[in-house]
């Protein structure tokens, strides 16, 4: 059997990652709010509150919401990660409730990445 190269493994990993959401639930998107001590102190609770309020307001029934710990970028908190099926995850940084609402409407509902608020898309730095 032919040996797999690192590049090939990375490709498989990305592909599986994108498929995981599809397989595990009926969600159109998964939004993860970072809730480490740093995230909480920077205002993650207000971000989560804004996110839940958006789901209520728009009566959206297929978005998965979850929380995670510190991602190691404490000075960029509050942060969320948005995963849409078949697309690489996008991390958003230095959020406010208003930015969260924009991201929800544009990216989660509309499928368009809000590049201005993003740390990175895939592995390419945007700014």
């Amino acid at each position: 059997m032919k040996k797999l190269t690192i590049q090939e493994l990375a490709k498989i990993r990305e592909k599986t990652k994108a498929m995981t959401i599809l397989r595990e639930g009926a969600g159109r998107a998964k939004v993860t709010v970072h809730m480490g001590t740093c995230g909480i102190a920077a205002g993650a609770r207000g971000i989560m509150d804004a996110l839940l309020a958006e789901i209520e307001t728009h009566n959206i029934q297929d978005v998965i919401v979850t929380t995670s710990g510190c991602a190691g970028l404490c000075n960029r908190e509050p942060m969320v990660t948005v995963e849409i099926k078949d697309q690489p995850p996008v991390k958003y940084i230095l959020l406010t409730p208003e930015k969260m609402r924009t991201i929800f409407r544009e990216h989660v509902l509309g499928g368009r990445v809000v590049a201005n608020f993003a740390l990175a898309v895939g592995s390419e730095m945007m700014h």
Partner: protein, 181 residues
Amino acid sequence: MMEDLSFHVLDLAENAIAAGASRVTILVNENVARDLLTIRVSDNGRGIPADVRERVFDPFFTTKSKRTGLGLPLLAQAARQSGGGVEVVTAPGRGTRVMARFRYEHIDRQPLTRMAETIMMLALGNPEVDFRYRHRRNGRTFKFSSRRVLAGTGRRAPIHPALIRSVRKTLQNGLRRIGTT
């Protein structure tokens, strides 16, 4: 910084989740007559070994390579500045219990505020964990169990807007009934 005490509750509960807890009990007791506010967060997580336990109040200490490790030192500071203190009881395999006391009327006591949002966030963000929340204020008690409300909701399942509304209402109304928020 953590400008109100409910942030500390959120932080302690997140620590419990990180320690693998499936059940987190949150007790808040506002006893105005005795000038005492107590917050207790206990979990059935993996507990803390003795050598680590000795250092949990050291702001420069953390067990996680990328985490801040500031949570308990900040809580201890908030408690001390309002004439109280913090106690941590833990052992490997026996969970962790953190008790914080504050003088209720102390001028430097941070306000509690936003407990409803805090518990809602924990419950909806971690449906696989059972949060048991009891809030007493001057003898009146409000109880909430997330397992009862969220029965059947999985971590990977989409969240229903009606569920968000119902959890929000339950918590807000319950706390209002005992005269707190």
